[in-house]
Subunit: 433 residues, 2 copies
């Protein structure tokens, strides 16, 4: 049995300083649970934008190698974020037999499989609950709780910034740019919010979740990604009129071992649970073969919630280390198959189409003609006669259609001389509960 | 490393037959994940009300000892339910070094600590995710996900039968007795539904949850329990008028290490998430110190959801056995303190009071006089003049008041000659989100 568990922290931003605070508060209890002291031995603080507080200066080191090469450090908690140098640090730590806890979704999405493989080779542990859904224990629910079930689909709201902006636009009106600016002023959006609003951050988390949910290899290239940059008040109010709310959803589906993985703004029924998840909350609706539908909601980001998830991983890994238990989360060792990923050619969905049409006779017949020729069947049509910048919006919702054919026919429509701007295409998901 | 993992099942009712079905479907995958075969070796079927299907007759044994004394059986899945003989069977299995999976909430609530202790002594595993919340991985979320956080409170809907009846009464009207009868006809309530509707079943689950959430010893005597038998349409419609919905809640609170644990029908804001959990769904709203509020919802009962939770436990325990890992869930070994439990003397709540008063002048002044003398401050009053069986209902909601003083003053009010029936007292919880 070990005499102590020593931790090295890489980075000292918001999550790390919350973690330090929570850890210090719980340390007495941890030591008593594990019967050996658990210590934060060193913190790599260089390049950190926050000032290093006086009380942790004694732990502060200026070179990551002071942690990575320290043979007494058992667990490295990586909270730098980004790919470089985090990836090299983590790989070096694993090579040295250290266990890893990380909240780095970009790194795990891009290089997770390489990192998992190295952990298995070196018989070290890795915890990454904090990388997806902040304080919501969604990875544990999927990895362990549903380990003997089958996940059929996951509908998720996994980016707080985008959800905050869309909720605000829906409830209070306003243009995307103005609402984003306000979110930045209030600290709900970063100075450079592009990864949040263009869907990349959601896609990172979804790729991590998809690997565990379907025990499959997945790369970022597999994910269909669209952001919320082009959503207008016009779309929000048309959606509302049709009984829908627009949310940036991360969607996973498994149909006969063919996987769908996509992130995009989606029209969902305004009566659904997910449509009511507002502001910075995250939510997961998991449909399983046997347990039925499960939902989990909570804070998906922020210092304390993310640090709480890091604490959960620490408890689990420390418990293994204290007991000299080197066996692995079977679900990580299980990721070896590459299931088929659906491309636009295979995906079937309902669509919301907003055409910007000149106010001339015969427009609708031209559009519906093209749609009909491409086997796109119309479910409803709204034409409010509101002139927006010289053109009139025509909204059409379709029945289920093939995504490739849909985009092909929209490209044809957009070439019509009566169409004055690029048509807005959004997916509709009706059956999310 | 073990050459095979052998399972013995005690009982073959709804959950066991769902488990058998799911297990058989997944067996190929399980064998490949664990690299050793996982087998159901024997099923104890005596006393089972369902007929034993032809294909499992070869596994069927008529004496539990055929399983309990079989040295090749590693895991006993107890799905008989009830205290006797389940308790003796489980203790005997643990003595023989076998790991246990059980969905038996009554047994764990009453004798869980004795059983946990024996598991720790004998270094065997125990899984009981299926005992609380069916397919919802709530115990894992509390035990592992929040292991490094602090649970401040849990508000839960953990009895599907009661929730079905209350939802139905709220949405469609009808008397308690009639709705219960319909629920029985449809299979949503058992022939003898008393444990479900009198709050005992919820209390069993809450006691199990409370032990894990607060790492404390808890017995059924600690739980304040009231059922839904006396809820009338009058209460449901008054509640609605006041902006509330009546739900049977299981409540856990930790205030400075003083614990509240109670089950009772509760008025909760009609805008809250829990008020929207209808029918046989269960829900948990967990407030934590660091992760913030978390919610989990799903099917709380039924063959497949419960069997899915058993499968999750099986995966975890099989993984430990295959890896010769005998270390323990630290949270179970942690249950050793006995925190203070609040009694009615310590509990503060808001209350809904429905008096049945004779339609005479001065009634209100008599009631409010008694309340005032006992420091019960009135928040609102409703008197609709509806004569119900010779008396008029007067509804008073209070500000926060001491529960002992409240019940003392209601006892005094009920002695007034203008009060014609026992006053209905329900608690109000406003801050459940």
């Amino acid at each position: 049995m070990k005499k102590a568990i020593n931790i090295g922290i890489l980075g000292f931003g918001t999550v790390a300083s919350s973690f330090y605070h929570i850890f210090s508060e719980q340390k007495g209890e941890l030591d008593s649970i594990f019967s050996v002291p658990i210590n934060i031995k060193k913190i790599f603080t260089r390049g950190n934008s926050h000032p290093v507080p006086e009380n942790i200066k004694k732990l502060s080191v200026q070179n990551a190698s002071d942690i990575l090469e320290d043979k007494e450090i058992d667990i490295v908690i990586e909270l730098i974020g980004g790919i470089h140098p985090a990836k090299d640090f983590i790989l070096q730590a694993i090579s040295g037999g250290k266990s890893i806890i990380t909240a780095n979704k970009a790194l795990l999405a891009e290089h997770g499989e390489e990192i998992f493989k190295k952990c298995i080779d070196k018989k070290t542990n890795i915890g990454f609950e904090a990388a997806v859904g902040g304080g919501i224990p969604i990875l544990r629910a999927i990895k362990n709780g549903l380990a003997g079930d089958k996940v059929k689909s996951v509908y998720s709201i996994i980016n707080g910034t985008s959800n905050f902006i869309l909720s605000k636009m829906t409830k209070e009106g306003g243009k995307f740019e103005d609402v984003l600016k306000k979110a930045q002023e209030k600290g709900y959006a970063e100075a450079d919010p592009s990864l949040d609003i263009n869907g990349t951050d959601s896609a990172h988390k979804l790729a991590i979740l998809g690997r565990l949910a379907f025990s499959t290899s997945l790369s970022m290239k597999d994910v269909i990604i669209e952001g919320i940059e082009n959503i207008t008040q016009l779309d929000i109010s048309f959606a509302k009129e049709l009984g829908y709310t627009i949310k940036l959803l991360g969607i996973l589906k498994d149909e006969d071992s063919k996987i769908e993985i996509r992130v995009h703004p989606t029209l969902i029924p305004s009566s659904s649970l997910l449509s009511k998840i507002d502001g910075v909350f995250n939510a997961f609706l998991v449909n399983t073969k046997f347990a039925g539908p499960l939902s989990l909601t909570g804070y998906g980001a922020g210092g304390n919630p993310t640090a709480s998830a890091v604490m959960g991983d620490l408890m689990e890994i420390a418990s293994r280390l204290v007991n000299d238990d080197s066996h692995h989360d079977f679900i990580i060792s299980k990721i070896k198959n590459k299931l088929n990923i659906k491309t636009k050619k295979d995906i079937i969905s309902r669509y919301y189409l907003r055409f910007s049409a000149m106010d001339r006779p015969g427009v609708l017949s031209k559009i519906s003609g093209i749609l009909g020729e491409n086997s796109i069947s119309i479910s409803s049509m709204l034409q409010k006669g509101r002139k927006v910048e010289g053109s009139v919006p025509i909204v059409i919702t379709t029945h289920e259609a093939n995504e490739e054919e849909l985009f092909k026919s929209i490209a044809l429509c957009d070439k019509l001389d009566v169409i004055s701007a690029k048509t807005m295409v959004l997916r509709i998901e009706d059956k999310i509960e």
